[in-house]
Amino acid sequence: MSSRARKLLAPARLTKWAVSGPPFVFLLLFFVLPGVIMVIASFRYPGEFGGLAPLAAADPNTLHGFTLETYRFFFSDLIYTEIFIKSFLVALATTLICLVMAYPLALLIARSPKKRRDLMVLLVILPFASSFLIRVYAWMILLGPQAALSQLANGLLGVLGIAPVHLLFSPFAVLIAMVYVHLPFMVLPLYTNLEKHDPNLLDAAQDCGANAWHRFWRVTFPLSLPGIFSGSTLVFIPVLGMFAIPDILGGTGDMLVGNLIKEQFLVTRDWPFGSTLSIMLTLAVLLFVWIAAKLGTTRGRYA
């Protein structure tokens, strides 16, 4: 290597570290390290007054050191597995409802004249520019017992001779708010995908005699699968870990994984078990990402 080349190389490496170093160190410290700490915490005993028990104790009779106890406890009571399954089902239902509601909208935007598209996308984004909490709170008003929606529903039920129902603090309220909060996450990736479709494909299909339904089901839909998968991931994962919506709009029986974790950390103060639950949630998320990626690639082959 010539001395000139060496001179050029050294500052280049320096630049690389000067640019990537600060964010790297920051995230190592405040994202990776806390994750590692949580994994370790899940193998420890809870402290007497919350927090963690010491690793070494003077009195050998007090709990200390490492253990698999929290994991044994997780599997010993079926209720925890049940809450995980329930969260999984709520996330699945939310994803499917979002997909059904988002698809026509994304399709319409993608097929609108170019000038109008940006405005239509902005109209999808604006409501979710408002605070998450406000969007959840809005449903407290809408589903409240004096609200028009509840009056209407109970009026109809009354005609049918069914006792009035409470819309607020119910699984229904949780689901509708989950869909409401996450809908734009489904619309945007779908639109980005549908926008790229070549309209000639649909003309060709029509020339081959395909009717409107066939053109959608055999051409547009398979080509939009990557958009569907990325949208589904963006909806499914946050819903799986959601605690605020069941906390505000759900009843006592509507607890999901997120609520369980929140309770362990802030109410029961059993940090090791809270950490175990968080790690189980992480594993569930990874499992979902893996399945979605698998489905995405095998389906992609046919598309």
């Binding site: 994202f31 940006d118 902005l122 409501p127 008003i141 799986l240 505000i248």
Partner: protein, 258 residues
């Protein structure tokens, strides 16, 4: 024709679903009644209550301070991360930048809670909230900056270097002016995210310090009064301005996830 009709009808339904709840909140913030039930008459009363609610004003002050500090730090670190991800394709860094954005918020919240108390022995408060907000904002800034860089012709940087510019001069006079709209958009985005954040703040705030969303949360958990509608309306106005500003600087804001 019929197909177009159904598409329009379904889309109109979706737009209605998106907007009606927010309009209800805004309308009721001017309603002269304690209940969020029927329209009684127009009033500014709830905004007046808000202006004299010292807890709420303190929370507003905290939120603005946290948002300002954390968005500034996240803009600097996120811009660096965006450049590093684009130029050096570092896998580890890309993973560390994008995962906090993609995973359930509660996981970042509880792991930071554990870390702050167990390892740093920090009393939860402004500092812990700011550190947490920087952590989740870096990714959003980085993604916007990277998208901006991807749209720039690489030869422009080579030309600068051939003309004798040092790496710093290349950055200062070529790269930075080109990515500036993305940096500003990312900063505005980080500011908005910080003002809005509830979940991560909930776990890292401790007992002493309340932000606006935490205050709103405790209000709706205890008793819903139309004062919440008033503060919500003001908050909507603020974030709306931020998002529109951000999308003016960089249309990438509309493409990426916010």
């Amino acid at each position: 024709m019929r197909r177009g009709f159904w598409l329009w009808a379904a889309s109109l339904g979706a737009y209605t679903f998106l907007y009606v709840p927010l309009f209800i909140v805004i309308i009721y913030s001017f309603n002269d009644s304690r209940l969020n039930a029927e329209w009684v008459g127009f009033t500014w009363h709830w905004y007046d209550v808000l202006l004299h609610d010292n807890d709420m004003l303190a929370a507003m002050g905290n939120s603005l301070f946290i948002a300002l500090v954390s968005s500034l730090a996240a803009t600097v670190l996120g811009t660096m991360a965006g450049i590093a991800m684009h130029r050096y394709k570092m896998k580890a860094l890309t993973f560390m930048v994008l995962t906090p954005v993609a995973m359930p918020e509660i996981l970042l919240g509880v792991s930071l809670l554990l870390f702050f108390i167990q390892v740093l022995n920090l009393t939860l408060g402004l500092v812990s909230i700011i550190l947490a907000h920087i952590t989740f904002s870096i990714g959003f800034v980085a993604v916007i900056v990277r998208a901006r860089l991807a749209g720039i012709d690489e030869s422009i940087f080579e030309a600068a270097r051939d003309l004798g510019a040092s790496p710093w001069e290349t950055f200062r006079y070529v790269t930075f002016p080109l990515i500036l709209p993305g940096v500003v958009a990312g900063g505005l985005m980080a500011f908005t995210l910080s003002i809005d954040d509830f979940v991560i703040t909930f776990f890292t705030a401790g007992v002493g310090v309340a932000t606006l969303p935490l205050r709103v949360y405790s209000m709706i958990k205890i008793a819903v009064t139309p004062e919440v509608n008033a503060v919500s309306t003001l908050l909507m106005l603020l974030t709306l301005t931020m998002i529109v500003l951000a999308s003016k600087f960089s249309p990438d804001v509309l493409r990426g996830k916010t």
